[in-house]
Symmetry: C3
């Protein structure tokens, strides 16, 4: 059983954060939240989304799992204004999701959850450095790095108490640093890892400019990016595996 | 003889409503209005436009007929701001149209009207259902249907007093219904016909969101869409032939 | 030695005016200004840019010459808001340009000035007609001519005291004229020359709509277009060779 009403804006934010990595996913319709975990086909980027029942106008669910095509669902949500309400109701018999938006009814065929790529175990890492910053600074770093390279190093300068981003191109380099004045918070620790810029660009697309993003970082370890959505009634965690340092 | 002055906005609205169906057309320069009738190459969609002399700042004509390339004329009108005046003057001798916009003079070569596809006879149908609604609701229906299918059914639910739109895709369906509260007016009658979505999408492009559109509908009959332009000094009627119901 | 701070807006305006003609250029880092002269590969269009030290927040230079890839430098300047300051510093040893924008550091590899196409001698022509007009009128003329032709005639009607633009297409023509009321200033003289529209379109892209542009014109002679940038602390002169009149 699943019957819920949510604003189109909240639904879109949630879907966007997952669709930057995968095209299909499983939705766990838990009794207190919708949960999605997914990993991209190359097993490099993962997302863990939870959208609490509090983010909904009304919410009833009993723990079922459905498989959905995200771009279909995004297209439908895109038919509504941000504040319009979207009514989602699962038809258990036909295994279709009925979606209503102000007189418009869309019947979405679901995907067999068994056919969706298996959900990742998101490892519980103890990463030594923690950086809290605004989403727009991640955007700036990613855009700058993209001018010169297809990978990006994130690290912490422990003595100077700085978070830095490095990108080395064939001829040009980019270096970006933020100190404790620019950051919301910083816990220093040994941290320097190289990542594929493509993945970070995709994740960046889903990070609002005014979001407070927490980055957990280590030395040649995966990075975790965490931020809240839906006025803190939802949360998104990305994890990205490091690239082997080439030099 | 043809010598007229009209705002660029009015001229563009009129041209746009025809150019969604055809690239060339005949303009009947009647003494009280400009009239255009045209049918698309596949003979499926027709347009009937009348723009009264009242829509012009000044208007003189004596019943001539000229052939024009619509996209040329649209490009020229596009050089002006919406409120700028466009002066149109026919040179009978050279068979060219002189178009002036604030110091800019464009000399447009006309097309031999004989070489333009013949104008359709727009059949005088007695369609049993009449739906009056806002242009934006047509837009919404067309966009929703376009997510799942390339054809669209329009119909009236007589008992429930509803106008509905149905689109059936391979896996997903869209159903949109508007009752008398959502509609401006409704005359019920037996009505259900299937149409090519491509044509309706093209016609929809020319329908302003705030226009009051009258739809005349029957059972497996053509549909007529009618709306006013140029502050009611002009009117557009589209007619679209039905597709044979495939199921 | 070169060490300067300038607003991103001013830097972008200067770079844009040159990049419409060439991809690489030499920057003369004179002690009182940055100067760029360049000619396009076909030797048809030239640009002469001077950006005075007064256009900078701070400026130190001693006459060196560096070669730069303009689109790289534009991309970097594009990372900043218009009012953000860009700090440029030349590293003489590595021959790299360090560019800083609010915490972001970009290291730009320079190009050997010897490998950049040789700078043109901009001829000192005594052209009989001078037209001073707003940039937006040039834009209007160029857009109108582009509808019908790939070349454009500029000229002065001496008796009528008008500046005119003519473009003749295969079937359609455009004529645009501005009299002394429309122009800021006009010095009449024998002037009529034909130009490639492609070049004028490129130059037009770099001319602000509200710029006061001075056009020097003769009979089958090159045209000069001159306008100020950076609140008159910089100036741009384009010169465009005429096409041979074909008729």
């Amino acid at each position: 059983m699943f019957n819920a009403i949510v604003s189109a804006g909240t639904l879109r934010t949630a879907l966007d954060s997952v669709s930057v990595l995968v095209e299909e996913c499983k939705l766990h319709l838990n009794d207190d939240e919708i949960a999605i975990r997914a990993v991209d086909p190359a097993n490099v980027g993962m997302v863990d989304l939870a959208l609490s029942a509090d983010a909904f106008e009304s919410y009833e669910a009993d723990g079922g799992v459905i498989g959905v095509n995200l771009s279909r669902l995004q297209d439908i949500a895109g038919m509504a204004g941000s504040d319009d309400l979207v009514h989602l109701e699962l038809d258990e018999e036909t295994r279709k999701l009925h979606i209503s938006i102000d007189g418009l009814e869309y019947t979405l065929a679901l995907i067999d959850p068994e056919s969706v790529r298996q959900e990742p175990d998101i490892p519980d890492l103890d990463l030594p450095a923690k950086i809290v910053l605004e989403g727009r600074d991640i955007n700036r770093a990613v855009k700058a790095a993209d001018m010169v390279s297809d990978h990006i190093a994130l690290g912490v300068e422990e003595d100077a108490e700085q978070f830095y981003v490095d990108a080395e191109g064939d001829t040009d380099d980019v270096h970006f640093e933020l100190d404790t004045e620019d950051l919301i918070d910083l816990t220093v620790g040994p941290a320097h890892s190289l990542f594929s810029l493509d993945y970070l660009k995709d994740m960046n697309k889903a990070i609002p400019g005014d979001a407070e993003v927490t980055i957990d970082l280590g030395e040649e370890f995966p990075v975790k990016l965490h931020f809240d959505v839906a006025e803190a009634d939802g949360s998104v965690t990305y994890m990205l595996a490091p690239r082997i340092q080439s030099d």
